[in-house]
C-alpha cells in the first residue's frame, strides 16, 4: 500500500512537472508583473540608463515589480531570441535587428503599437520620421519602434593617412574630391606605407555581405528590388560596384583580403566603414581620427543606415504592459536620453545641437554631415522575409568572388540563381 502511495505521489510529481512545462498560455494576470527585455548591448552605461528609465516606470506603475534587461551576444542574437520564443521562454520586449525586421513584423509575433503610442501622454507619434519607421510597418501598422537609426560613416586614422603622404578625407571633401576612387587610393597608399590594412568594411569579413551595401549603394546597386521579388546582383550597377570592389581588394590591396582580420579601433587599419555608434570605442584612441560621410560613387552622394527596433511580443504574459512600457521607454523625454547612444527616429531630436550634447566625441559638422543628413536620405541595409536563409545562400554563392581570378559577372549571376527561388517565396 505504501508503495502504491509512493507511486501515486511520484506520478503526480511528474505530471506537475509536465504541466509546469506547458504553462505558457495563461490569462493576463492582475497581480505583480515582471518584464524581461532582450538587448544585444552589455555596455554598462547603456544598461544603467535603461535601468533608470525602468525605475521611473516602476515608480509610476507599482504593479510592475521588475524590469530586467537581458543582454544576448550580438553574433547570435536573433537565433537565441527565436530559440527562446520556441522554447516558450520568450521575452516580453526585444530589440530587433533590421535584417530580421521583415520576419518579425510580418509574422504577427509583435503587438501593433499604434493604439498604445497614440494613447500615451505627450508621446507625439507624429514626430517619428517616416523613413525611419518604414521598415517596421506592415499593413500601415507600426510593429516596432526604431530606437536606433544609425548611419554608416567612414572613420579615418588620420595619423596613418598623413604618414603615407596622402590628403586626408576631410581635405578631399573640402576639395570636392571625396570619391570611391580617391578613398581606395588613400587606403592603398596608407596600407602600403604602414604595412597594416587600408579600408575595412566592418563586420563584413567576407561573410556579412549585407554590410557591402555601404559600398554598392554608391553605384545605385541593390541586393533585390524594393518589392523583394527581383534579384539585383546580376544587374549592371551591382556588376560595376563589385568589379570595383574586387579590384580594390585584389589588385589595389586597399582592403584586407579574405582571412585577414584587422580592427580599425585597435589601430590596425587606416579607415573603416561602420555605424557612428562605434565612436565610443575611440574614447582612448592613441591615434588622430576623423569621421566623414561615405565617399561619393558614380551615382553621386548617398548614405546607408543600419536600424534596430524595439518590439513587444504578443506571446508574452503581459503583452499590454510590455507595450505600455515601450511607450514610456521611447517617449520624448526618454528618447532624448537614449539619443546619447542611439540616434533617435524623432525629427525634433535630430539637430546637431541636441546630438552634440550627448555625443561629446563628435564635432557638430560630423553630426550634421554623417548623422542628420544620413538619416534623412539614408537607404536601409537590405532586408527581406526569410532573410537568414537568403543571407546564407548569398554568402555561399558569393564565396567564389573572393579569389584574385574570379569572374565577377558569372559569380553574380550565380548569386541570383541561388536566391531567385527564395525571393519568389
Amino acid at each position: 500500500m505504501k508503495i502504491r502511495a509512493l507511486l501515486a505521489a511520484a506520478t503526480a510529481g511528474v505530471l506537475s512537472l509536465g504541466l509546469a512545462a506547458c504553462g505558457g498560455e495563461e490569462e493576463p494576470s492582475t497581480g505583480p508583473v515582471s518584464l524581461r527585455m532582450t538587448v544585444w548591448s552589455s555596455n554598462e552605461a547603456h544598461l544603467k540608463l535603461f535601468n533608470e528609465i525602468a525605475d521611473a516606470y516602476k515608480a509610476k506603475n507599482p504593479r510592475v515589480t521588475e524590469i530586467k534587461f537581458d543582454p544576448i551576444p550580438f553574433e547570435s542574437y536573433t537565433t537565441t531570441l527565436t530559440t527562446q520564443i520556441a522554447g516558450g521562454n520568450g521575452p516580453d520586449l526585444a530589440w530587433l535587428l533590421e535584417n530580421s525586421a521583415p520576419d518579425f513584423v510580418n509574422s504577427g509575433a509583435l503587438v501593433p503599437l499604434d493604439d498604445t503610442l497614440g494613447k500615451a501622454e505627450g508621446y507625439n507619434a507624429a514626430d517619428l520620421s517616416t523613413s525611419a519607421t518604414k521598415l517596421w510597418k506592415a499593413d500601415g501598422k507600426l510593429f516596432a519602434y526604431p530606437f536606433s537609426t544609425s548611419p554608416f560613416g567612414v572613420f579615418v586614422n588620420t595619423d596613418m593617412v598623413k604618414a603615407a603622404g596622402q590628403q586626408t578625407p576631410a581635405e578631399l571633401i573640402a576639395a570636392n574630391q571625396w570619391t570611391w576612387e580617391k578613398a581606395v587610393a588613400v587606403a592603398a597608399a596608407s596600407s602600403a606605407k604602414s604595412g597594416k590594412s587600408g579600408l575595412v568594411v566592418r563586420d563584413f569579413d567576407y561573410k556579412g555581405w549585407d554590410n557591402l551595401s555601404t559600398v554598392w549603394a554608391g553605384w545605385g546597386a541593390e541586393a533585390w528590388t524594393a518589392d523583394g521579388k527581383g534579384c539585383g546582383f546580376d544587374q549592371q550597377p551591382m556588376v560595376d560596384a563589385m568589379t570595383f570592389l574586387h579590384k580594390a581588394i585584389f589588385t589595389d590591396k586597399a582592403l584586407p583580403g579574405p582571412g585577414t582580420t584587422a580592427d580599425f579601433f585597435a589601430g590596425e587599419a587606416a579607415m573603416t566603414i561602420t555605424q557612428i555608434s562605434r565612436a565610443s570605442l575611440l574614447k582612448e584612441a592613441k591615434f588622430g581620427w576623423d569621421l566623414v560621410p561615405l565617399p561619393t560613387g558614380p551615382k553621386g552622394e548617398y548614405s546607408v543606415i543600419g536600424q534596430a527596433g524595439l518590439g513587444a511580443l504578443k506571446k508574452g504574459k503581459n503583452a499590454d504592459v510590455a507595450a505600455d512600457f515601450l511607450a514610456f521607454f521611447t517617449n520624448p523625454g526618454n528618447s532624448a536620453k537614449l539619443a546619447a547612444y542611439f540616434p533617435p527616429p524623432r525629427t525634433s531630436l535630430l539637430t546637431a545641437e541636441t546630438l552634440a550634447k550627448t555625443n561629446p566625441l563628435l564635432k557638430p559638422e560630423q553630426l550634421q554631415q554623417v548623422v542628420i543628413d544620413g538619416i534623412s536620405t539614408g537607404i536601409v541595409k537590405p532586408s527581406h522575409t526569410g532573410q537568414a536563409e537568403i543571407a546564407q545562400a548569398v554568402r555561399a554563392a558569393l564565396d567564389p568572388l573572393w579569389k584574385p581570378d574570379a569572374d565577377v559577372k558569372t559569380v553574380l549571376g550565380g548569386v541570383c540563381s541561388a536566391i531567385n527561388p527564395l525571393l519568389a517565396k
Binding site: 500500500m1 505504501k2 508503495i3 537565433t79 527565436t82 530559440t83 520564443i85 520556441a86 520576419d103 518579425f104 509574422s107 504577427g108 509575433a109 567576407y206 561573410k207 583580403g257 579574405p258 582571412g259 585577414t260 582580420t261 504578443k314 506571446k315 526569410g386 537568414a388 536563409e389 546564407q392 554568402r395 555561399a396 554563392a397 564565396d399 567564389p400 573572393w402
Partner: protein, 297 residues
C-alpha cells in the same frame, strides 16, 4: 501488514531502483522524451514567430527527399567523418605504439598529446581560428621555411582539411590513451614466443597486437564515428559552413534550418535522419565485431 510486505528482498529491490532512479529519470527526461518530441515535431510545420504548429504528416520527409542541398551536406559529412576517423585512429594508434616504449620522456609526451582533450572545445577552436587565418600563425611559420601557405579556411579544399586536423589534434589524445591501456594489457609472453618463432616486428604487430586490442579499436571507432557525425562547434567557429557549402555538415545544416531559418519542423526531420544514420552505423560496427574482434572478454 506493512512489516510482512517489506521483506528483505523487496527492500533491496526498492533500494536498487532508488539508486538508479536519478539516472533513469535523467535519461527519460533528457533523452527519451526529447527524442520522442523531435519525431513529433518532424511531423509538423512549426513557425515560431507566427506561433503556428500545424500537422503536415510526411511532408517534411518528402521535402527531405527533394532537398537538393541535403546531398551536399551528406557528402561534406561523409568526407569529414572518413577523414577524421582514418586520421584520428591511425595517428592515435601510432602515438600509442611509440609512447608504449620504455624510453625517457614518454610520460611527458603522453601528457602533451593528451592535454588538448581537457581544453575547452570552443576556446581551442577560437585559437586555431586565429592560427589558420591568411596572416595567421600557421602561415607565418610556413613563411619562415619559404612556403607560401594557402588561405586555409577560405579555400574549398583546404577548409575541410583544416577543420579535420583541428579536431584530430584536439581529440587524438583520448584515443591514444585508450590504445595505450589496451597495448599494456597485451601479455608480453606472446611477443616473446613470437620472437622465438622468428616473427618480424611487423608480423607481431599485425598478428598479435592488432587482434589483441581489437575490442579497443572497435570502441574507439564507434566513439569517433559517432562523434564525427555530431561535429558542430568547430564548423560554427571556423567556417560557418563555407566556403560555398563545402563544410556544411549535416548537424550544421540542421542548425541552419532550425535555428537560423526558423524551419523547426524540417530541422527536426533532419535530426531524425541523423539519428537513423548514427543508429545504423553503430549497428553495422557492432555486428562487424564478430568478424574482426578476435578477443573479447
Amino acid at each position: 501488514m506493512s512489516t510482512r510486505f517489506w521483506t528483505g528482498s523487496r527492500r533491496d529491490t526498492l533500494a536498487g531502483y532508488l539508486f538508479i532512479a536519478p539516472q533513469l529519470l535523467g535519461s527519460l527526461l533528457f533523452v527519451f522524451v526529447p527524442l520522442g518530441l523531435v519525431f513529433w515535431y518532424s511531423l509538423h510545420e512549426w513557425n515560431v514567430l507566427a506561433d503556428t504548429f500545424t500537422f503536415v504528416g510526411g511532408e517534411n520527409y518528402q521535402a527531405l527527399a527533394d532537398d537538393p542541398k541535403l546531398a551536399d551536406a551528406l557528402v561534406a559529412t561523409g568526407f569529414f567523418s572518413a577523414g577524421l576517423v582514418v586520421l584520428n585512429l591511425s595517428l592515435a594508434l601510432l602515438l600509442a605504439v611509440l609512447l608504449n616504449q620504455r624510453l625517457r620522456g614518454t610520460v611527458f609526451f603522453r601528457t602533451v598529446f593528451f592535454s588538448p582533450v581537457v581544453v575547452s572545445l570552443v576556446a581551442w577552436t577560437i585559437v586555431w581560428n586565429f592560427l589558420l587565418q591568411d596572416n595567421g600563425g600557421i602561415n607565418g611559420l610556413l613563411e619562415t621555411v619559404g612556403v607560401d601557405g594557402p588561405n586555409w579556411l577560405r579555400g574549398e579544399g583546404t577548409a575541410m582539411i583544416a577543420v579535420i586536423v583541428v579536431q584530430v589534434v584536439k581529440n587524438v589524445g583520448l584515443n591514444m590513451v585508450l590504445f595505450l591501456a589496451a597495448l599494456q594489457g597485451v601479455p608480453a609472453n606472446l611477443y616473446e614466443a613470437a620472437t622465438v618463432d622468428g616473427a618480424s616486428r611487423r608480423r607481431q604487430f599485425l598478428s598479435i597486437t592488432v587482434p589483441m586490442i581489437s575490442p579497443t579499436i572497435l570502441l574507439t571507432s564507434i566513439i569517433t564515428v559517432v562523434g564525427s557525425l555530431q561535429v558542430f562547434a568547430q564548423i560554427a567557429v571556423l567556417t560557418q559552413g563555407g566556403p560555398g557549402t563545402s563544410t556544411t555538415v549535416l548537424v550544421y545544416y540542421l542548425y541552419q534550418q532550425a535555428f537560423q531559418f526558423h524551419h523547426f519542423g524540417y530541422g527536426a526531420t533532419l535530426s531524425v535522419l541523423l539519428f537513423v544514420i548514427v543508429l545504423l552505423l553503430t549497428l553495422v560496427q557492432w555486428r562487424m565485431r564478430r568478424k574482426w574482434v578476435f578477443h573479447e572478454s
